[in-house]
């Protein structure tokens, strides 16, 4: 099985099972079926053509038979045979004329449906993409996701070659444009650099998937951005790439209410954390206050024994011994609380890290778009699941993604942020690579210390907590950086047995 057929297509539309490759989508050559399929003639036209041919043949045969019948008769029979033959041919011609007329009407009707449909329709020419996929596959490159994750510039160039041929009236209205002419041209005019979905169309096309659906954020002519759900039947032959019909639904309102729901849930989770912390603090206060009280009282008792007219050394010593015992008790309380808080991930289960990473990308989607970040994602097929607290790992990923994005805020060119998941020795490794300003060698170890921050208002706890969290899962978190070129954070999570 080839890599891309094993990999589910990552759609930005949750709830859709990864667009499965078509039956026999990728034959043994590794080429999708459309690369070799003959042009699919529209069924209705073929049927009509066959009927017309039947007319002509019937006329010819009829004429011929009548002619034959006249052969053994005197010459007078020939004239009616010819007349009948000519009549038959005329009939056939009239029939084809009628057919041609119906064809024209059918085309007009199809155009009217496109134009008047109450849904946004886009006619797009993706043939350069078909050629690019065939060329890559001939060169032995089958995994589009891995290839374009490594070559984001090639991806951007290809996106520029996809052209919008036409849009319907509903689209013009939805996009607040004046005419279809506002859209006709290269796709990258409406799809901003931060788009994550184009590469997934390539993956679906290369896998020979029958349909694809994904969310995208497109720029309207007035510069505003709307959230859109795009869906299309993918072509089954090469010619089909010249006229892909894509439907678009404006889901901005839906996304906004979804974002509010997520924010409310996050706030709820934070509030419950605050309550937990409050409860914990109260019990911690009690646990620590008792030994602390005993320490203070013993110390003061000791002073009084020593300050007596005749100092009572034995009593003073006993008080000091008690004091030391209480100090040890206080230390144990702190140690116990620490281990309770950090060393036991509380909701461990078997986790598909690729899924966790996708969730993390969706969580920060808005911030990434606002910061102009292009997020690229790639995961090896068949990665083992790891035993982890998915929420904690997602928080680590969100933290690393936001750090990476902020590191690139001053970068003038493309801001590529890449997440790769691959197998490592008895572990799954996750790399988060930015192309930002990098970290000076001298600062490298300090970034993981608590209360280190370069951000105004930052607590500087992010990376310290991330490292603590990964280590409590039995993994490692570290970073490589080349100042001026960017930083890559890596973490591993062990695969059990």
């Amino acid at each position: 099985m080839r890599a891309e057929t094993a990999k589910p297509v990552f759609s930005l539309w949750p709830g859709q099972p990864g667009a499965a490759p078509a039956e026999g989508g990728t034959p043994s050559t590794g080429m999708p079926a459309w690369a070799s399929a003959a042009r699919r003639a529209p069924g209705r036209l073929t049927a009509l053509g066959l009927v017309a041919l039947g007319f002509v043949l019937a006329a010819a045969v009829g004429g011929y038979l009548l002619g034959l019948a006249g052969d053994d008769a005197p010459g007078a029979w020939h004239l009616p045979a010819i007349v009948v033959g000519v009549l038959a041919v005329c009939l056939a011609l009239a029939g084809s004329g009628l057919l041609a007329l119906r064809l024209v009407r059918a085309e007009r009707r199809a155009l009217a449906i496109f134009e008047r449909a109450g849904v946004s329709l886009w006619e797009e020419d993706w043939s350069p993409v078909a050629q690019a996929i065939i060329a890559l596959k001939r060169a032995g490159i089958h995994d589009m996701q891995t290839h374009f994750t490594a070559h984001p510039d090639a991806l951007r160039a290809l996106r520029r070659q996809v052209t919008i041929r036409n849009v319907n009236a509903f689209t013009v209205q939805m996009m607040g444009a004046r005419s279809p002419a506002d859209f006709i041209g290269p796709l990258d005019r409406i799809l901003p650099d931060t788009d994550q979905t184009f590469v997934q169309w390539l993956v679906a096309l290369a896998a020979g998937a029958p349909v694809f659906r994904s969310e995208a954020h497109i720029t309207r002519p007035d510069g505003s951005v709307i959230d859109t759900l795009f869906a299309a039947e993918l072509p089954s032959d090469l010619d089909g790439f010249r006229h892909i019909i894509v439907t678009a639904i404006d889901i901005t309102g839906y996304k906004a209410s979804h974002a509010r729901l997520v924010a409310a849930e996050t706030e709820l989770a934070r509030a419950s954390r605050v309550i937990t912390v409050g409860t914990l603090t109260a019990s911690l206060a009690h646990e620590v206050n008792s030994p602390l009280s005993a320490i203070v009282l013993n110390a003061e008792a000791c002073m009084r024994w020593l300050r007596r007219p005749v100092p009572e050394i034995a009593e003073a010593e006993a008080a000091i011994a008690q004091l030391m015992q209480e100090a040890t008790r206080a230390r144990d309380v702190v140690a116990r609380t620490r281990s309770f808080l950090s060393n036991t991930p509380r909701h461990r289960r078997l986790v598909d890290l690729a899924e966790t990473a996708r969730d993390a990308i969706m969580v920060v989607g808005r911030e990434m778009r606002e910061l102009g970040i292009s997020v690229h994602f790639d995961a090896d097929a068949g990665l083992p699941r790891v035993s982890a607290d998915a929420v904690q790992i997602q928080q680590v990923l969100v933290n690393l993604l936001l750090n990476g994005a902020q590191a690139m805020s001053e970068v003038p060119g493309p801001r590529d942020l890449t997440i790769r998941l691959h197998a490592a020795a008895e572990a799954v490794q996750v790399d988060v690579q930015d192309c930002g300003c990098g970290i000076a060698a001298g600062l490298m170890e300090r970034i993981f210390m608590p209360f280190q921050t370069t951000r105004p208002g930052g607590m500087g706890m992010g990376l310290a907590i991330c490292r603590n969290c990964i280590e409590s899962h039995g993994g490692r978190l570290w970073a490589d950086s080349t100042p001026g070129q960017g930083t890559t954070f890596h973490f591993t999570l062990p695969v059990q047995g």
Binding site: N289, S290, L292, S293, A294, I295, V296, L297, Q322, E326
Partner: protein, 123 residues
């Protein structure tokens, strides 16, 4: 120094030991109890001169103990100490007749002053 008898009731052994050393260092005689019932069982026939009790204890709370003491020895002064100095509890303790309400950790001056005042009043 008179050998006044102070009873200390606290479920925390560390606190009991520390209070004993402190109170003995200024000349009091000290009796230690881990809970209210064992104090009540031991108090007859000669009650102490003052009772110092914690509030949060398993079984009988310090407030319950104070009420029991109040019924049996109306003039025995009671000093309350707690790690949870909530206003409602403080009010309740004072309404029930406590001489002092101290929150842990407290310093020795505070408790010694309370004791001196309580014992002076009872003569």
């Amino acid at each position: 120094m008179d050998a006044r008898v102070i009873a200390v009731v606290d479920d925390d052994q560390g606190i009991r030991m520390a209070l004993r050393s402190l109170l003995r260092s200024v000349g009091y005689t000290v009796q230690l109890f881990a809970d209210g019932p064992s104090f009540l069982a031991d108090a007859d026939p000669t009650p102490p001169d003052c009772l110092v009790t914690d509030i949060q204890m398993p079984g009988m709370s310090g407030l319950d103990l104070q009420r029991a003491v109040r019924a049996r020895y109306p003039h025995l002064p009671v000093i309350i100490v707690t790690a949870f100095p909530e206003e409602a509890i403080r009010k309740q303790a004072m309404a029930d007749g406590a001489r002092c309400f101290l929150s842990k950790p407290f310093d020795s001056e505070a408790i010694l002053r309370c004791l001196t005042e309580a014992l002076d009043e009872t003569g």
